[in-house]
C-alpha cells in the first residue's frame, strides 16, 4: 500500500479528551435522576455458611426505606458464564461477597443504616479455600449448581480445557534436559479508578428498563440481564455513561446489577447503586489465581521438544468468563516458540474464595511467565545462552504451529535480535552484582490474540453512518469507549477515507437502542473489527456520494477526491 496517509499514524489528540480532562464527562457516579433512590447491599458475614433466617423488619420500619430485596419470593434466573450464580443468596453463602439483601432508600445514609439493621442468623460451615483440597473426593460440593460431576468427573470442577499436539512420549525421549516447575499466581484486582456503579430506571407504565451501566459488553449484558430478570431483551436499554476504567472487570454482569434493576422494578423509581472503594475490593472480580505445573524439554542441540502443563485455577465460588482464560493460555503453551509436542490441561476449581473474573491479558501473563522461566532454567542446565536458545526456537514467517496457527507475518526473530543488541544483553548478562537491590536484564517473547477472539457466536460489529446537510459525519458504532481511545481511532479512519476534518466527525456509541450489534470491548478487537466495519460502511456511502456527485457535475462516475470536507473531481 503506497497510499500516502494523512492522519493515520500521526499522533492525534483524544476526541473525547476535552470533556474528560475538564470534568465535563458524566460518569455513572455523576448521574442524578428525578425521584432517584439509593441502594445498598448487605453481604455475608461468613465465607461459608447456611442462612437460618433473615429478618428485615427493623430495617423496613426505618423512615425513608422503600424496598428490601431478599432471595425470598424472587422469580429470577441465575447469572454468570455457567449460570451457577444466584443473584441473592437465601439458603447458603459461599464467599465473602455473597449478597444477602439489598435496600432502596431515599438517601445513601438511610440505605446504609437500614442494611445495618437487617438481622441474619447463620450456621457457619468450614470453608474450602485451596483448590487442591476442593478436588479431593471427600471434599464437600461447594457450588450446589455446579455440574462438575456430570461434565468433568469432579463435583468441584467448574470448567475444564484440554489440548494436545504431537508425540509427547517420543519427544520426551529425545530431550536432553527436562525442567519441571510449579508457578503460583495470586489473585489481583483491576482496581479501576471509577468504582462499580449502575443506575436503573424502570418505567411501570410501559415496562421498559433503562440501565446506565459501566459495561464493556452492552449487548451481551442486555441478553444476560433479560435472562436473569425473565424479561424481553429488547425492553432493556443499556446506556453506557463514561466509564472509569474496565481492564476486563466489566466483561461479566455481576449480581449488583440485576439487584439494582429489580429494586427499580419493585419501586417504580430510578435506583442508583455505587460501590465504595472498600466494597470494590471485596466484591469486584479478580484475575484467576492459579497454580501452573509446567514441564518443558529441550534436546541436545537446544531445540525445544515438548511442553506439558497442568493448570489449577481458583475459580472462587461462582464461574465467570475468567474461567475461559485457558483458551488464550493454550495458544501460548502450544505456539510460543516452535514446539513439537504439547499437552495442556486446565481446570477451574470451585472454592469459597471470592469469584474471579476476566482481566486483560486473559491468562497470558501467567502462561508466558512460566514458559519463559522454564526456558531460562533449561538454557542454564544445557549451558546455552538464554538469548541463543530463544533465537534457535523463535517463531518464523510461514510457520504453522502445532495448534494450526499460520504466522503469515512474524517479527519474533528480528525483534529478539534487536532487543539483544540494543539492551547490550551479552554484556549485561555477565555482570555480577551483590547487595539487596540488583538490576538485571531478561528476555521474553509474547504471543497474544488481537483483533477479536470469537468467544461468542458473532465477533462482529455494526456501523451506521449519517452525513448531515452541513458536511458533518456521525459514526454510529456498536463498539464501546472505555478510555482506550476507540472513538478517536474510528474518527481518524473516517477522516482519512472521507477527507472530513476530525472537528466535523461525531461518534455515537453508548446506547443499545441506537447502536448496532457489537460483541464488546475485549481481545484487542475494537480498532480492527469496528474499524473494518466502519470501512465497509464508508465504501457504501462513497458509492452513493460518487454516483450523486457524478450526476450533479455531469461527469463520469469515478475518480473523485475527498479532501477537507469537499468532494472534488480529479484533475486530469
Amino acid at each position: 500500500m503506497d497510499k500516502k496517509l494523512k492522519i493515520i499514524g500521526k499522533s492525534t489528540s483524544k476526541l473525547d479528551g476535552n470533556d474528560r480532562v475538564s470534568g465535563r464527562s458524566v460518569y455513572g457516579h455523576d448521574i442524578e435522576l428525578p425521584n432517584m433512590l439509593y441502594a445498598k447491599i448487605l453481604r455475608s458475614k461468613y465465607t461459608c455458611a447456611k442462612i437460618k433466617y433473615i429478618d428485615c423488619s427493623k430495617a423496613l420500619a426505618l423512615e425513608g426505606v422503600e424496598y428490601i430485596l431478599t432471595a425470598k419470593n424472587l422469580d429470577v434466573n441465575m447469572i454468570g458464564y455457567k449460570r451457577d450464580h444466584p443473584i441473592l443468596k437465601g439458603e447458603t453463602v459461599n464467599c465473602q461477597r455473597d449478597e444477602i439483601a439489598a435496600v432502596a432508600a431515599t438517601s445513601r445514609e438511610i440505605a446504609a443504616k437500614a442494611v445495618s439493621l437487617i438481622k441474619v442468623e447463620y450456621e457457619e460451615i468450614k470453608g474450602i479455600y485451596d483448590p487442591f483440597e476442593a478436588l479431593k473426593t471427600e471434599a464437600r460440593k461447594i457450588n450446589l449448581n455446579g455440574q462438575g460431576e456430570e461434565k468433568f468427573g469432579n463435583k468441584n470442577i467448574a470448567e475444564s480445557f484440554e489440548y494436545s499436539h504431537g508425540e509427547l512420549k517420543s519427544m520426551k525421549k529425545l530431550s536432553k534436559v527436562i525442567v519441571s516447575r510449579r508457578y503460583q499466581f495470586p489473585r489481583v484486582t483491576h482496581c479501576c479508578m471509577g468504582t462499580s456503579n449502575i443506575t436503573a430506571d424502570y418505567s411501570i407504565i410501559d415496562g421498559k428498563l433503562t440501565l446506565y451501566s459501566s459495561t464493556q459488553v452492552p449487548f451481551l449484558y442486555q441478553r444476560d440481564m433479560a435472562h436473569a430478570l425473565k424479561m424481553e431483551p429488547s425492553k432493556i436499554r443499556i446506556i453506557q455513561p463514561i466509564i472509569g476504567g474496565g481492564f476486563g472487570s466489566k466483561l461479566d454482569m455481576l449480581p449488583f446489577e440485576p439487584i439494582c434493576a429489580l429494586l427499580s422494578i419493585k419501586t417504580g423509581k430510578p435506583v442508583q447503586l455505587l460501590y465504595s472503594r472498600e466494597e470494590e475490593f471485596i466484591a469486584s472480580p479478580t484475575r484467576q489465581a492459579m497454580v501452573i505445573d509446567l514441564t518443558s524439554g529441550v534436546d541436545e542441540k537446544g531445540k525445544f521438544t515438548f511442553r506439558e502443563v497442568q493448570i489449577t485455577m481458583d475459580n472462587g465460588a461462582y464461574t465467570s468468563w475468567g474461567a475461559t482464560t485457558p483458551f488464550v493460555m493454550m495458544q501460548a503453551y502450544s505456539s510460543l516458540y516452535q514446539i513439537a509436542a504439547c499437552k495442556f490441561q486446565a481446570d477451574a476449581v470451585y472454592t469459597n474464595n471470592p469469584n474471579a473474573g476476566s482481566f486483560r491479558g486473559y491468562g497470558n501473563p501467567q502462561a508466558t511467565f512460566s514458559i519463559e522461566r522454564n526456558i531460562d532454567l533449561m538454557a542454564e542446565e544445557l549451558g546455552l545462552g538464554k538469548d541463543e536458545i530463544r533465537l534457535l526456537n523463535a517463531n518464523f514467517p510461514g510457520e504453522i504451529t502445532g495448534q494450526g496457527l499460520l504466522f503469515k507475518t512474524c517479527g519474533a526473530k528480528p525483534a529478539l535480535l534487536k532487543v539483544i543488541e540494543e539492551s547490550n544483553y551479552k554484556m549485561k548478562n555477565r555482570e555480577k552484582q551483590s547487595g539487596r537491590y540488583r538490576r538485571g536484564v531478561g528476555l521474553a517473547s509474547m504471543l497474544h490474540v488481537g483483533g477479536g477472539a470469537k468467544i461468542y457466536r458473532s465477533d462482529g460489529c455494526g456501523t451506521r453512518l449519517k452525513l448531515d446537510h452541513y458536511g458533518f459525519l456521525t459514526i454510529i458504532t456498536g463498539s464501546s469507549e472505555i478510555g482506550q481511545g476507540s472513538e478517536t481511532v474510528l474518527a481518524m479512519i473516517a477522516c482519512e477515507e472521507l477527507g472530513i476534518p476530525l472537528t466535523h466527525i461525531k461518534v455515537i456509541n453508548s446506547d443499545t437502542d441506537v447502536k448496532p450489534w457489537d460483541v464488546g470491548v475485549h481481545a484487542s478487537r475494537t480498532s480492527f473489527v469496528a474499524g473494518n466495519s466502519l470501512l465497509g460502511a464508508i465504501s457504501i456511502i462513497k458509492q452513493k456520494l460518487n454516483s450523486k456527485a457524478a450526476q450533479l457535475m455531469g461527469c463520469k462516475n469515478s475518480d473523485f477526491v475527498y479532501e477537507n470536507g469537499f468532494i472534488k473531481a480529479c484533475e486530469k
Binding site: S11, N18, R20, S22, C192, T195, G244, G245, R277
Partner: protein, 164 residues
C-alpha cells in the same frame, strides 16, 4: 438531619457564596451533592487516590478528607473553575491531551489541579522544577490507565516550558 447547620461564606471559582452546611459534611459531598459540581471525582474517599483534589486558598487538598465548614472565609477552586468562556481549557489540560495523559479520565481532573498548585508554588519561588520534583509533586495521585509516564511528561512539559 439532626445536625445544626453552620453558615459559611467562601469564594467558589471566583464568585462569593454563602451556604448553610452540616459540620459533619465532607467537602467532596458538599461539592458534588450540594453545589452539583461533578468534575470532582470520588475515587476512594480515604485520601489515597487524589481524584477528588480541589484547591483551597491555592493549596491542593483531598476534598474527601476535608470538612466543608473549613472553607469558610477561603477560596475554593474546583476543576470547573479552570474553564472560562474565553479559555475553555487551561494550558495544563492542553498539555495533558497533547501528551496522551488522559485515558479513562477519572484521575485527570485531580492531577490538573495539583499541577496548577505546584506551578503556582514554583512561580512564587521563581524556580523551574526537576523531573524528580515534578514526580514528587504528583505522588498523591493514582492512575490505572496510563502507567504515569505520560502524566509526568505532560506536567513536566508545562511546568518547565510555560512562560513566566
Amino acid at each position: 438531619m439532626d445536625d445544626k447547620l453552620i453558615k459559611i461564606s467562601f469564594s467558589l471559582n471566583g464568585k462569593s457564596l454563602t451556604k448553610n452546611v452540616s459540620p459533619s459534611l465532607f467537602l467532596i459531598d458538599f461539592i458534588r451533592d450540594e453545589l452539583k459540581l461533578k468534575g470532582t471525582k470520588p475515587g476512594c474517599r480515604e485520601g489515597e487516590c487524589g481524584a477528588c483534589t480541589v484547591l483551597v486558598n491555592g493549596v491542593a487538598i483531598n476534598s474527601c478528607l476535608f470538612l466543608a465548614i473549613n472553607i469558610h472565609g477561603k477560596e475554593l477552586i474546583t476543576i470547573e473553575g479552570l474553564s472560562s468562556i474565553e479559555k475553555p481549557l487551561h494550558p495544563i489540560q492542553e498539555k495533558m491531551l497533547e501528551h496522551g495523559a488522559v485515558q479513562c479520565g477519572f484521575c485527570s481532573t485531580g492531577i490538573v489541579l495539583t499541577t496548577k498548585a505546584f506551578d503556582d508554588e514554583c512561580r512564587s519561588d521563581g524556580k523551574i522544577p526537576s523531573r524528580q520534583e515534578v514526580k514528587k509533586s504528583l505522588e498523591g495521585h493514582l492512575c490505572r490507565c496510563t502507567g504515569y509516564t505520560k502524566i509526568v511528561d505532560a506536567a513536566e512539559d508545562y511546568l518547565t516550558h510555560s512562560s513566566f
